[in-house]
């Protein structure tokens, strides 16, 4: 039951916001009475905490695994961005929820980022700086700012695709549009990070990344 409440709460908070969702709305969606919700979660604020906790807990396991894996360079870049993109495209509600939280409670989310995300971002940034010394990565990349932008871009693109996707061709079907959207996102992130290689050694780098995106769907 608790889990079922969290599922519906996630859906409703993402769609209408925390203030735009009443306990009555949520009770109706779950199929129970309003006071029964407050048996599982003592207050509406606790419900918010529960929803957010479940969202963030996913990365507690995944991030360390990705970052401590014995890969490097483009390979690692692929693994991390792919994980980031699939996590949010799998269920765009996660992206909408995070954006709403950033707007509604900037101070609290900022504290949570400092505690849980910053240490891992630092690892990624150290990797980028190493890549810059090796000459693989553009020397004028600002690592912290770059990582921030890529994360913000993935999350906000997914969160607002239904709205912003309006500028894309109406002819294509929605599936194809999403695929194009994600493919371009990955291209922007990659091409602004890695230096173009001098030699024309064709090992299908671009193709690998694009097909990875298609697997994600």
């Amino acid at each position: 039951m608790r889990q079922q409440i969290l599922v519906e709460a996630t859906r409703l908070f993402a769609a209408r916001g925390f203030d735009g969702t009443s306990l009555q709305d949520l009770a109706d969606a779950v199929g129970i009475r309003k006071p029964s919700l407050l048996y599982h979660f003592n207050s509406k604020a606790e419900l918010r905490r529960g929803v957010l906790e479940e969202l963030l807990s996913h990365w507690q396991d995944v991030l360390p695994r990705l970052l401590l894996a014995a890969t490097s360079g483009l390979r690692r870049f692929d693994a991390i961005t792919r994980e980031l993109v699939t996590f949010f495209t799998d269920s765009p509600d996660r992206a909408r929820l995070l954006v709403r939280e950033a707007l509604d409670r900037p101070v609290e989310l900022r504290a949570s980022i400092v505690d849980n995300v910053s240490p891992w971002v630092k690892v990624v940034c150290d990797n980028i700086r190493a890549g810059q010394k090796q000459g693989m990565i553009h020397p004028d990349v600002d690592p912290e700012a770059y990582v921030t932008h890529v994360i913000a871009l993935v999350i906000s693109s997914v969160a607002t695709f239904d709205t912003v996707g309006a500028v894309m061709h109406a002819g294509d079907d929605a599936q194809a549009q999403r695929a194009r959207h994600v493919a371009e996102l990955l291209r922007v992130a990659r091409s602004s990070l890695f230096r173009p290689r001098e030699r024309a050694d064709d090992d299908n780098e671009t193709t690998t990344l694009t097909s990875a995106d298609h697997q994600a769907r």
Copy 2:
């Protein structure tokens, strides 16, 4: 008075959201009684319309001027992205308001985009395609998706900087952090669009863009 109400409404809707702001909150901020608000705006929904209308009206004049100006290539790219960035950094409430609207009313905002934004995006995309034929722009850029991402990145970066900026160095002052953040945003947008030039003809392209950003502050 009407203008003063719109100013406070913009501030409060951006900070707490439409559903998170009561007419009482707004009346207190303006310094009048609640029913007096409803003399100027017949309903809360009309207030939302008024706030959004004022926000979008800015582009009605600026966009055509920028796009029909007799410049091209990197020069035009600079002018457009600079306008986009300064508009939102001048008052981040605009960015927060648009993101909230995208989340709260996707269908309505989508319609407004199709009517007011899409035609201009098409002009930019035609420019990009022309640049691709000339070889100035990466051939694998997806124009519609690229433009969408740059707009989304600018808006969401500004909207969530207070939260997401937590990953950047705590040592620097806030002003410097914002400048770094914006500079990297412009670098990502530019370097993922333009092809690297073969010859080393140093005409300070990068410096121009970066100092333009500093003017914006």
